[in-house]
Structures are given as C-alpha cells and as structure tokens.
C-alpha cells in the first residue's frame, strides 16, 4: 500500500509516463456511465415491503431475513412497513379477488422506481386454486417483473430470483411495461421527477392560499 501511494505521488509529479502510465490507469480506474452506476447502486439498495399474502410468506420474507439465508448479503435487509418507503413488493401467496384491489393499491402507492416479484405458483397462475375466489395470475391486475416458480419456492430459489431481479435493475429497469399495461401517467416520484409539477387545480389552490395569508 505504501508503495502504491508513493507511485501515485510519483505519477502526479509526472514521473509515470507511456506504457507504465496506461497500465496504472487500467489497474486503478473503472470506466462506466452514470446510468449503469445508478442501476448498480439501486440494485444493491432495495427496500422490500413487509407484506405477506399466504404460506409463501413463511419462506419470504420471513425466512429470507433470518441469519440462515440472510437477504442482507444482497443489500435488501431493510424491510419497510409502508409502501411509500419501499421499492419492491413480493407477492407471497394466492391473491383472492377481494385482496387484488388492495395489492394493486399498495403497488400504486410505492414510489418510482419499483419492482414486483410474483412468488410461487399461486400468485403467478392461480396454482391449485382454480375457483371463484382466486385471481388466476397476479399479472392480470399489476405488472410483475419476475416470477419465481415453486409451491412454495425454497428460500434459495427466492434468493436466486432476487439476484436475477438485481441484474434486471442494472440493465433496463423499465422493459416497456408501461406501454404493455397502458400505465403512463401513474408514476409517483419522491421529488424532482418529470411529473412532479403540480396540477392546475393544485397550483390555483396554492396561489389562493398564499393570497389568503397575505404572503
């Protein structure tokens, strides 16, 4: 380490040149672009929603955050109890037709960017519940980024699926789902997003309120 520090100092003096300088740069500098760096940071800092639907919830997220499987290794150990603070939802179990609007609302309340994993046979396809009460596949009412098969999937399978999701985030997080589900205009941003300007009514009300207090 000491030697490297000395060499860096030498380089700054202009002592390192030519081929030697190129090799030094190759060793020390990583080249990337901003989008890739952002995707890398996002994929390793995911906040799952504390949310369970049925028996799959025992495998994920309950088992996943225990010391044995330890989702913290992949940077997703902070489970959030509010959809406003979460950016990933795991549908762990069958979705009944009475629960589907609730799930959809939770998903809509999450801030962009957000991801959804459909875990297990039931939430992906209805599973064994081919009847009047269960939605036959959660992607009928919300966009799903990833399906994990199993009944229920092992925690290892969920971890594998999670690493797949991380790769997806590092690549192209959109994948054109908004066009497929006709979901343009449903984005919610924390701040500074392209749709963060207030609506005409809200701006009007804001001006009226300012006049009222004499600001």
């Amino acid at each position: 380490m000491r030697q490297r520090q000395l060499r860096a100092r030498d380089m700054l003096r202009g002592d390192l040149e030519g081929e030697e300088l190129e090799r030094y740069v190759e060793q020390k500098v990583v080249m990337t672009n901003f989008e890739k760096m952002l995707g890398w940071a996002r994929s390793n800092s995911i906040f799952p929603l504390t949310f369970g639907l049925a028996c799959c919830a025992i495998e994920a997220p309950i088992s996943l955050v225990t010391a044995r499987y330890d989702l913290a290794r992949f940077g997703a150990e902070a489970l959030r109890a509010s959809p406003r603070q979460a950016d990933m939802i795991i549908l762990s179990g069958r979705v009944s037709i009475k629960m589907a609007p609730v799930v959809r609302r939770l998903y809509d309340q999450m801030l962009e960017p957000k991801w959804a994993i459909s875990m297990g046979a039931c939430s992906s396809s209805g599973g064994m519940f081919s009847n009047y009460a269960v939605v036959q596949g959660a992607d009928k009412f919300m966009p799903i980024d990833l399906h994990i098969p199993g009944c229920p999937p092992r925690p290892e399978a969920v971890l594998y699926g999670f690493t797949k999701l991380q790769r997806k985030i590092q690549g192209n997080p959109d994948q054109g789902w908004r066009a497929r589900y006709d979901a343009h205009g449903t984005e919610e941003w924390a701040r500074g997003g392209p749709r963060s300007e207030p609506s005409a009514e809200a701006a009007e009300a804001y001006e009226a309120a300012r006049e009222l207090i004499g600001a």
Partner: protein, 172 residues
Amino acid sequence: MPDAPGLELIRGEIEAAHPGAVVDTGFAQERAVLSIDPMHVLAVLGWLREAPGQGYSFLSSLHAADYLPAEPRFAVHYELLNRDRVERIRVKALLADPGEDALPEIDSCVELFPTAEFQEREVFDFFGIVFRGHPDLRRILLPEDYVGWPQRRDFPIGGEPVTFTYNERNYG
C-alpha cells in the same frame, strides 16, 4: 340425540301444534334430522327452544346445501343443541328453487338466535338464499360487487381448465 321413537314423538307434538310443518324425519351421519316446510321454520325452531322438555336453546351452526338436481333444490340446516342433556338435532328447511332470476326466500331466525346474523349473511353470500327480516343482509365474505352465488352447483368452477395435455402427449 333423540332416538327414533323420540324423534317421532317430537314430530307428533309439532304436528299437533303446527299442522303440516314437518315433512319428514330421519337420521343422517348419526344425527336426528327433522325436515320441515320453510313456511313454518320460525314456529318449529321456537317450539324446539321453548316447549317444555325440549330446551334446544343453542344454535350451534346454520348452513345451507344445494342438492341439484333434487327437488326441492336447496336446504337450510339449523344445528340445534340442548346444553343440559348435550343432545343435538338438525332441522332441515327444504327450499324450492323459484326459477329464473328469483331467489329462494325463508324467514330469518335472528330474533330467536342472534348468532344467526353472520351465518345467514354467509348463506346469502354463497347460495343466494334471502332471509326475510334479516337486519343487514349483504355479502359478508365475497367482495360487495361480486356477481353470482358461487357455492351453487350450477355455478361455473371458474379459473382456467386443467387439461393434462402434457401427460396426454407423453403417455396418452
């Protein structure tokens, strides 16, 4: 549980008080069953509860069944319990299907047994049997905007059909 002569005795006494109330008696799954005309359901339940020597004062369950294609098609089951003698009796009100879009109707027994309120709502929810005089008859388990009565036998199973084509291709 009343034995066979005891059940006939009960039938005779009810017939004396309310002629035409009891349609049939019998035993099913080790339970004495009193099949009745739905017009007299409150009279029979009240009699079993209040008449001296009966004392079936506890409604342990209320549920319904669809016996399609039998006639009458529906039955509402009242499982009564005498808690002193620990005796049970089933009262089965046979309900005909009014046909078309009309719903079968029966008197509500919430006045007699307040515990029946939610159970009657559940029966209404799944079978579409209307309980006359129920204080708050709406769906209880299914979504409020659900269409249809899913526990009826002629209700489509729904979902996606399981075809087993994979096995056919490989082993058929």
